[in-house]
């Protein structure tokens, strides 16, 4: 059972309230595909991923980035039992999409960096710590249905 302090809850909901989700999702996914190119293996159907400019301008990447952020929002709305809320998502990633779960952390790191870039100095060490804890729980929940 994950225990959230009041400060952690406030930090995480605070971040979501400041985020432009339509920008963060696409930006973070594009970054992941650029910085860790092996993650492109899961997006073979997305067309032109040839270079950074192509990835950043790719509409399918952008659309999927928004899907990912909506998934994060689901975790936010179910903070006290993310494991349960993510059961189907985890099965999807394992059974249908066959994603190596080590890659979840890479996308999580990219999301953190995009959030940092948006918030600047408001993204303090304490707020980062709460955010990283949240993403670690999300990643762990996504990994649960892998056998």
């Amino acid at each position: 059972m994950v225990v959230w302090t009041d400060a952690e809850r406030a930090a995480i909901t605070g971040i979501f309230s400041k985020l432009n989700c339509d920008v963060v999702g696409p930006n973070a996914l594009a970054r992941c595909l650029i910085v860790y190119p092996w993650t492109q293996r899961y997006f073979a159907k997305f067309g032109n991923l040839y270079n950074a400019a192509a990835i950043m301008g790719n509409p399918m990447v952008a659309a999927h980035g928004k899907v990912v952020l909506r998934g994060l929002d689901k975790a936010l709305k179910n903070m006290d039992d993310i494991k349960k809320a993510y059961t189907q998502l985890s099965e999807l990633h394992s059974e249908k999409l066959h994603v190596d779960p080590d890659n979840f952390k890479l996308l999580a790191d990219c999301i953190t960096i995009v959030v940092a870039g948006q918030m600047g100095s408001a993204f303090t060490a304490e707020i980062q710590a709460a955010w990283q804890k949240f993403l670690a729980v999300v990643v762990s929940a996504l990994c649960r249905q892998y056998y």
């Binding site: 960096i113 870039g117 600047g120 060490a125 980062q128 990283q132």
Partner: protein, 141 residues
């Protein structure tokens, strides 16, 4: 692998960062201690509270070493040989921790550089810091 363009980009970024080595270093360390408390175990002998003299001087040392590495990317192994020896034979820091500090350096830079921290810059920096960490861990065994 770093392209010629990426190496030049890294020199530009770290040249600018060198002027703020102390703040960037201290902030990166602080973020690492907050997010990954186990990393504090290596600093039991220092005062690592925010704004402490130890934190600032140690942060500065780290960033200036990174700056030196950026200026000598093709000869990282020889340039950083003394630091490799230090980390292997004296400090004996578990190598997974290098990734944690690298990540926090990236976050610190992202907060400061904002839009200038483009995906291309991010990729170059991530590759560079990984290469640096590999050199530091080279002599471990």
């Amino acid at each position: 692998m770093l392209s010629k363009y990426e190496k030049e980009l890294l020199v530009t970024i770290w040249d600018k960062a060198a002027d703020h080595a102390e703040e960037i270093g201290a902030e990166s360390l602080l973020r690492m201690f907050a997010c990954f408390p186990k990393t504090k175990t290596y600093f039991a002998h220092l005062d690592i509270s925010p704004q402490s003299e130890h934190l600032r001087s140690h942060g500065k040392k780290i960033i200036l070493a990174v700056v030196e590495g950026a200026k000598n990317i093709s000869t990282l192994t020889t340039t950083l040989a003394p630091l490799s020896a230090l980390h292997a034979y004296q400090l004996k820091i578990h190598p997974t921790n290098f990734k944690l500090l690298s990540h926090c350096i990236l976050v610190t830079l992202a907060c400061r550089m904002k839009d200038e921290f483009t995906p291309v810059a991010h990729a170059a920096l991530d590759k560079f810091l990984s290469a640096l960490a590999a050199v530091l861990a080279e002599k471990y065994r």
